[in-house]
Amino acid sequence: MARPELAVPLLELQQITVAGRDRPRLEALDLRICCGERVALLGASGAGKSTLLAVANGSQAADAGQVLWQGLPPARSGRQRRRQRARIGTLWQDLRLIEELSVQQNLNAARLAQWGWPRALLNLLLPLETAACAEALRQMELDPALLPQPVTALSGGQRQRLAMARLLRQQPSLLLADEPLASLDPRLATQLLALLLRQAQAPRALLLSLHRPDLLVGFDRVIGLRQGRLLFDCAAAAVDGACLRHLYGADAAPP
């Protein structure tokens, strides 16, 4: 394989601007993420991290600029668009599990982009693709015996891992995560981050927003976002105290 710099980037944002009420939520933002890159996104609350991730997974349209997924702009046809979106997996901060369904049905919900109605209906009646679901759970260090359990029976940590297992079940090439560690205790946060980083190897890539600079170990690159603008984009090792002070400076965070 060619060097990552030469390969087509999985995600490319060109001069992205998203308007906001007082000031743009994102302003003329450029970003390229290539295969195998694990990128952390830092910034104070309100800096535009969530907006950036929403633009990256296509749920928020940009007011100006261009998004390219594997070198291609958003497709016009619904079917092509869905195929593009299936390649992007998002780990939501509120997890967004379907509370009324079982663990296995939730895992299989990640395959709905590929499945038609017959299999979607059958999934609600019978255990489908049990082996693949069990494997996804095992990769997240969950017991496959949980498969028939209702989601409501899981603990907080188990739910978090299930959401990550569902992400794997989708088999995306670009992983996006919106502050997935925000509501976890430090030990669990470190464990889950390690699991996530292990999954995000070439040909995949990871873009993860977080607000704890102490967890940057294991990332290749760090992006600093301040008031909707790119403040720095450098190797993880190059991030130092001055950088962070500038990023989280008292004038940066709106009240």
Binding site: S59, R85, R96, E100, L101, W115, W117, A120, L125, L126
Partner: protein, 514 residues
């Protein structure tokens, strides 16, 4: 192998299959030009001042009847509800038995549809405005009483016991401990009953008890579609105004404080409600006076033939099995249509917002339009019978269930659906997995309750001929066969009581697992 909630939601739609299979055989030759003419007239309603004046007069009568019937039922129902509450009796006299007795007795007026009450009273006291008012008030009061007592008896009583233990007298303790938590439920149910009362008053008019319903039926029968649509648009305007007004008051009075924009002063809500209640009484009196309701005239009963002279042999030889069976099949088919079609329509329309809006508009018209009028319209192109009756009944209830389904979907956070769409699933599957999962159980529980209502309502599509107890009852009534009518009423009441019990169990089971 237990189907998951969203799949459960699609199960009632299996009952649509027999309807679809039977439909082609039911179509008779003519009538399509009439349907086309009817549909076209929607956009060219009659603007003739004479027509409009008579329609407006009819509308006023219908609204007045609905308002009076509703107001009476609300006051009566609240009192009866207190009287049939176990908690109230236990607190006041330390004995629950009277509550159970009153509750059983109230099941009888509840089990008989307002149309039957109307037709019975019509025979008894002759045509006068009070007939429709009473016909609405009697079953509604019993329904309100049941809901009030159910709400009361499921409230936690810890507060009440604490007040009693500190020496508060029983009535004051009841009012303080149970009044405020009871209020939101009573308000939202009361508002819903007002919408029902408007539909009932229109329906009673279709059967000749006066008001807009009578006008609508006459214009339909004389094929004056333009005049018919003028009336329908009026009715639509009133119904939408009512729904919006009720929704506004419900939000204003039942919204939790923490969501309110401004902190209202202490007791503001209580004062507003008291004022509204005080304003309601003179309003009801004025409406009653303007409508010409005369309580004295209600006292003059026409003599009825004694039941002792009944020919019971002939009554026994009625095809009972067929009558009961027909009623049950009619209920099942109508339920399948109403409960099953609404989610299917939303799924179908999911990718296109404009189609979703169109479906919603269709639902508004469906619940606006009284079932017997739908039936008359269907009879232009379909043969009379069970399926046609089920279509008319089901379509009306589809309008009510569809609105409920859409509202509960709108109340739910769209996050899960958005997540599914972002992961590449299509809009229909996203709605199916992410949207319908959350509302399935409560929707089906409401569907179970609604099937019980439809069982009671089968009488209103009795016009379709030979479709169960309802048709037989209308026939016996018009031939003054009092012996038959009495027997039919008893059987019908028993059937609806059993149906109510079954639908209650189903509803509780669905909600418990939620």
């Amino acid at each position: 192998m237990r189907p998951a909630p969203p799949l459960l939601l699609l199960l009632p739609s299996l009952l649509l299959l027999p309807l679809l299979l039977a439909l082609p055989g039911l179509v008779h030759g003519g009538g399509w030009d009439l349907i086309a003419e009817f549909a076209g007239a929607a956009f060219t309603p009659s603007l003739d001042p004479v027509v409009l004046q008579s329609l407006l007069a009819g509308l006023w009568v219908t609204v007045a009847m609905a308002l009076l019937g509703w107001g009476t039922s609300l006051f009566g129902g609240l009192l009866l509800g207190l009287a049939s509450s176990r908690t109230v009796w236990r607190t006041l006299v330390g004995q629950e038995l009277p509550a159970a007795v009153i509750r059983r007795l109230l099941a009888v007026p509840r089990s008989i549809h307002e149309l039957l009450w109307g037709l019975l009273l019509l025979q008894l006291v002759g045509l006068q405005p009070a007939v429709a008012v009473l016909a609405i008030a009697i079953p509604y009061a019993a329904l309100v009483a049941r809901v009030v007592s159910d709400l009361l008896d499921t409230l936690p009583t810890a507060n009440l016991e604490a007040l009693r233990a500190s020496g508060a007298p029983a009535p004051a303790a009841l009012l303080t401990a149970l009044g405020p938590p009871l209020l939101p439920g009573v308000l939202s149910y009361g508002g819903y009953r007002l919408e029902c009362a408007l539909r009932s008053a229109t329906l009673l008019g279709v059967f000749g008890l006066g008001g807009l319903g009578t006008e609508l039926k006459l214009t339909l029968q004389s094929l004056e579609f333009h005049e018919l649509w003028s009336g329908l648009w009026f009715l639509l305007a009133v119904m939408l105004l009512l729904e919006a007004g009720v929704g506004l008051l419900r939000r204003r009075w039942t919204m939790p404080r923490r969501f309110a924009l401004h902190q209202p002063g202490v007791g503001r809500r209580g004062r507003e409600m008291l004022l509204a209640l005080l304003a309601l009484l003179p309003l009801l009196l004025a409406v009653g006076w303007a409508l010409g309701v005369d309580p004295v005239a209600l006292g003059h009963w026409q003599p009825l033939p004694g039941l002792g002279s009944g020919r019971w042999q002939a009554v026994l030889s009625l095809p009972w099995l067929q009558l009961v069976g027909g009623t049950l099949v009619l209920t099942a088919l109508a339920t399948g249509l109403a409960v099953g079609l609404a989610p299917l329509q939303l799924l179908l329309a999911a990718p296109w917002p404009w189609l979703r809006r169109l479906v919603t508009c269709g639902w508004v018209l469906a619940r606006l339009w009284p079932p017997p009028l739908t039936l008359l319209l269907l009879l232009f192109v379909l043969k009379p019978g069970l399926i046609t009756a089920a279509l008319a009944l089901g379509l009306h209830n589809l309008g009510i269930l569809g609105r409920l389904l859409r509202e509960s979907l709108d109340d739910q956070s769209p996050a899960v659906q958005e997540a599914l769409v972002a992961a590449g699933s299509g809009p229909r599957l996203a709605l199916f997995y992410g949207g319908l999962s959350g509302v399935a159980r409560s929707y089906l529980a409401y569907g179970a309750y609604r099937s019980d209502v439809m069982l009671r309502e089968t009488v209103v599509v009795g016009l379709a001929g030979a479709v169960g107890l309802g048709s037989q009852m209308l026939e016996s009534l018009s031939s003054f066969a009092w012996d038959q009518l009495a027997a039919l009423l008893v059987v019908y009441a028993l059937l609806t009581l059993v149906g109510e019990d079954l639908s209650d169990r189903l509803r509780r089971r669905l909600l418990r697992r939620a």
